[in-house]
Amino acid sequence: MAELTYRQAVATGIAQEMARDPNVVLIGEDIGAAGGVFKLTEGLLDKFGPERVRDTPISEQALVGAAMGAAMTGLRPVAELMFSDFFAVAWDMVANQIAKTRYMTDGQVSLPLVLRTANGAGLRFGAQHSQSVENWAMAIPGLKVVAPSTPADVVGLMAAAIRDPDPVVFCEHKALFAVKGEVPDGEHLVPLGEAAIVRSGTDCTIVALAAMVPRAIDAADRLAADHGISAEVIDLRTLVPLDAAAILASVTKTSRLFTVEENPRLCGWGAEIVSLVADEAFYSLDAPLVRITTPHIPLPSAAALEDLAVPSVDRIADTVRRRLEQAR
């Protein structure tokens, strides 16, 4: 067991796979000598050389498109979009080309590639550098979507994403970069599509993702301590494939569901979870299904406002308590 930061875990996971498979190559802006603007790829250029760690111009369409072309011809590219907001600049490549080509060609083309990106709020960067776009990717058939909340999962899911034969959008959360955690020694792999029950409980199920996971756990602890409410917390870890079984099993047990989403409200991933539960677990429910999300607004830059926008431990705990009381 080594203790790593979430930041270090990114390079560790990538390095593990680059050492294992010479077809894994890295491409992105300022990822080489500079080691990335968030130092997420630090050391990889020295370790693997300029042939495998390629700096690009500021050309997201070209770099994502190039990753696709390389993936369909034998490589396993890992492309970095410096900020997840920049997916918008390359969205045609992602949503119309990468996601659809295998299906359109009836399986002739395989696209084993990873699109890594710094996702989420917390650094006061404002509306164009703080979005959570996992729901953009979830809405596109043909994309797998991963968003780890711990250093161990960063390493294990990165390995799984790089080995996966399909395109994976890998969201690295800015607010978690400095978080430390234990990472198993030796090769570490966490399969895509398995949620983690990070806290078990009986009164309600709280489903969270990425930076919302530690907040949901803190809120659950507070609910237990202050109000005797026993909340089960599920870290989805991957949105596609979705561990529907884990969610349904938990809700069947607790009869109550809350989602905690950093994305703005409308068409967020939690809406999909709610619609799944409202259909398949309807008869075991005994209270409204409640979503706790960022309001449907762009993210403000001022610290005072950004902290108010994204679901906080207070808001999660208060909402759960209030809604459970109302449901009594």
Binding site: A62, G65, M68, G69, M104, D106, P165, D243
Partner: protein, 332 residues
């Protein structure tokens, strides 16, 4: 028409002519079948532009890559893809090249190096660059060739791909088929320079190359030089082949936005009969050329019959092949 250049072999000349008549015969029939309602959805024909696909294809190695557009019948057939699955795909049949999932705009045959037809303007230039980067990394000696139109030179992806390809010295050849119109709008009305591709080459440190796109041998020679340069590590090229589509942009478009004299003048320069004349002058007999045309007619007829006989796709395939495991499940 350039006079016959000695270093194009007979064999290559005949192959190029075969390709041109194959493409022409196929597309003429495809259009008839569109009006019959057998070809569904949409179709974009390259009738009048065959010399570009044929001349370039003859300069490529079997394991090289082709990337083309929705107007990609010619480029796909030119790589040796059989006609029957192409017709079947146009008909939306189970035996289609893409099982009926892609349609006319997305013809792909990886085993023939036909790496796809892309229907969103500009997207395939970066993708072709990526295939070239891959070949460069794998030291496979493969070259990627990317076909696109004049209108495509005004979209962002063109600019990004050309710059990155030049910086990386990627083994990719960009071929702009300047047929002088985007859909219905003349390219000159929306472009700041006269030659949409060639006048931009210098912006990427590339040589300005313009070729008569209706002269298959001229195209072939330019392509050979560019492909060889790419293969030998000399980096990318941007070729502008000036040509014309005889018909409309797609489907039932009569192309009435073009002056009659302009259409007539270009039809008079039809690359297929022109090359026939050229080959006759070069000493190839009527009999030989007739036989190639017969081969094309028979191939198209047989392919159509086969495709007509094919069944519609079974419902079960609807949710297959999204993922590499063959399925499309998003949940457990």
């Amino acid at each position: 028409m350039t006079t016959k250049v000695p270093d194009i072999s007979r064999e290559v000349q005949l192959r190029m002519y075969q390709t041109m008549v194959d493409c022409r015969t196929f597309e003429v029939r495809a259009q008839e079948l569109f009006f019959e309602g057998l070809v569904r959805g949409t179709t974009h024909l390259g009738i009048g532009q065959e010399a570009v696909a044929a001349g370039v294809a003859a300069a490529m190695r079997a394991d090289d890559y082709t990337f083309c557009t929705y107007r990609g019948h010619n480029h796909t057939l030119a790589r040796g893809v059989p006609m029957a699955p192409v017709f079947a795909e146009l008909f939306g049949r189970a035996t289609g090249l893409l099982g009926g999932k892609g349609g006319s705009m997305h013809l792909t045959s990886v085993q023939h190096g036909a790496m796809g037809s892309y229907a969103i303007v500009g997207a395939h230039l970066p993708i072709a660059l990526g295939a070239a980067w891959s070949a460069q990394y794998r030291k496979s000696g493969q070259v990627a060739v990317c076909f696109f139109g004049d209108g495509t030179t005004n979209i962002g992806a063109f600019h990004e791909a050309l710059n990155m390809a030049a910086v990386w010295k990627a083994p990719v050849v960009f071929v702009c088929e300047n047929n002088q119109y985007m859909e219905y709008t003349p390219i000159r009305d929306v472009t700041a320079v006269e030659h949409p591709a060639a006048d931009r080459a210098s912006a990427y440190g590339l040589e300005s190359i313009i070729v008569d796109g209706n002269d298959v041998e001229a195209v072939h020679l330019v392509a050979r030089t560019a492909v060889d340069r790419a293969r030998s590590g000399g980096g990318p090229s941007l070729i502008e082949a000036v040509t014309y589509r005889h018909g409309g942009h797609s489907r039932a478009d009569p192309g009435k936005y073009r002056p009659d004299e302009e259409v007539a003048a270009w039809k008079a320069r039809d690359p297929v009969p022109a090359y026939r004349t050229h080959l006759l002058a070069a000493g190839i007999t009527e009999a030989v050329l007739d036989s190639l045309e017969a081969v094309a007619r028979d191939a198209v007829a047989a392919a159509e019959a086969e495709a007509r006989a094919a069944p519609e796709p079974a419902g079960e395939v609807l949710e297959t092949q999204l993922w590499a495991n063959g399925g499309s499940a998003w949940r457990n």
